[in-house]
């Protein structure tokens, strides 16, 4: 049996890819698990997520296509991946690539907008990585395992003197210990009202934070549902067109563009409406949370930055 590629080699491979992209003038950055590892919050991952400026999707795709891992070139992953193309990236779609080495395959997810971001990720990069702030917002998912990473990154931000760290603390104990020594500006109370409960030491804080997590979880689940519904006709068309033939990434891309132009809504979230999505998540949260906690839920409409 062939050996697995060591993590250190994978990390060097993906950082090398992003370094080469940046040297070609492409604005891009590693995010998610590999970024967490870099920032000092251990995560178990072997794949890589990369943010790439929407307008440079074509150049980045060309680079990915020519980048070999152990002598193998990549391809799109399965039928489900949308094309890496600015028109769909603007709408929040993610392109999935894979290097099918044996016995494991290694995946790269590329997206143009950072899910749940409240600021423009391109404005704040740390060398090869997205900012801690962006990475933390991307971890506001419907997976419970992601939440400790959000808080851990929030504390890191505070340690650097970045008061936005308070937006990411989802441990009542940690938030209470930190918030009173931070000069929190008014806009942060607006987008995360629970900070007021922390500032005043209100007994409702822990319950309000739990309600926030339930809300984010539902918001993410609602978001994914919207995308999944839009994806079905496209996936069927790609499956039919490729029909299990071995084809190159370039051929696969051309097929995906053709199918996407006919079947894939460019921006399902815009078509659905951000406000409707937030309202749906609030309604789901209301089934669980005490009515007195609803006023402390975040104003999540600022968390769709970049989606057009």
């Amino acid at each position: 049996m062939e050996r697995l590629i060591p993590y250190a080699e994978l990390e060097a491979f993906f950082t090398g890819l992003v370094r080469t992209a940046q040297s070609r003038g492409i604005t891009c950055a590693i995010t998610s698990g590999m970024a967490c590892v870099h920032f000092g919050v251990a995560a178990t991952t072997k794949d890589c997520d990369v943010l790439c400026a929407v307008g440079q999707a074509e150049e980045f795709r060309a680079l990915v296509a020519e980048t070999e891992l152990r002598g193998l070139r990549p391809n799109y992953r399965g039928n489900i991946s949308p094309p890496l193309d600015a028109r769909w990236m603007r709408g929040g779609w993610t392109a999935h690539f894979t290097w099918k080495t044996e016995p494991e395959e290694y995946c790269l997810d590329v997206f143009g907008t950072a899910p749940r971001a409240s600021s423009v990720w391109e404005q704040e990069l740390h060398d090869l990585y997205a900012s801690r702030h962006t990475v933390a917002e991307m971890k506001l998912t419907n997976r419970p395992k992601d939440w400790p990473y959000v808080t851990a990154l929030g504390i890191k931000l505070l340690g650097m003197g970045d008061v936005r760290g308070c937006l990411h603390l989802y441990s009542a104990e940690t938030l209470l210990k930190t918030v009173r020594s931070q000069p929190i500006p008014a806009w942060m109370f607006e987008i995360r009202p629970t900070l007021e409960l922390a500032r005043t030491g209100d007994d409702q804080l822990a319950a309000a934070i739990h309600a926030e997590q339930v809300f984010w979880s539902h918001l993410d689940a609602c978001r994914i549902r919207v995308y999944e519904q839009s994806l079905r006709p496209y996936v069927n068309a790609v499956r039919k067109a490729i029909a299990h033939r071995p084809i190159s990434l370039a051929e696969s891309h051309a097929i995906r563009i053709e199918c996407a132009e006919r079947h894939l809504v460019k921006s399902p979230l815009v078509a659905h409406g951000f406000d409707q999505l937030v309202q749906a998540a609030r309604a789901e949260t209301a089934k669980f949370a005490h009515p007195s906690l609803m006023e402390w839920l975040p104003k999540a409409t600022v968390h769709f930055t970049g989606i057009l």
Binding site: L4, P6, Y7, A8, E11, V37, H38, G40, V41, A42, A43, T44, T45, D47, I80, S81, W93, T94, H96, E104, E105, C107, D109, P115, S118, S119, V120, H133, N142, R143, P148, T151, A152, I155, K156, L158, G159, M160, G161, D162, V163, R164, S171, T174, T178, S181, P185, W187, I224, Y227, E228, L231, V235, F274, D275, T301, V302, H303, F304, T305
Partner: protein, 80 residues
């Protein structure tokens, strides 16, 4: 509707370095949180110097994979 951004505000708020005493206090809060959230062993790794920390994480990941732990994830067309 185009989503709003607070990006332009951020640059005026960040990077006022905390005092040494505040840094120490935050470090203690951080360590306590890591122990609670990730457990003693991961907390220990997370506070190692960068080179040793990355080596320890790599060893942990490689060990898990060698024992058959699947660290892959589904392709959904939309990043979770």
């Amino acid at each position: 509707m185009v989503a709003q951004s607070h990006g332009s505000l951020y640059r005026y708020l960040v990077n006022k370095p905390p005092s040494l005493a505040e840094k120490r206090r935050l470090r203690k809060i951080e360590r306590d949180f890591h122990v609670r959230a990730f457990g003693e062993e991961l907390a220990r790794i997370n506070f190692l110097p960068e080179k040793r920390r990355k080596a320890a994480v790599a060893e942990m990941i490689d060990h898990a994979r060698s024992k058959g732990v699947d660290l892959g994830r589904p392709a959904l067309g939309v990043t979770i």
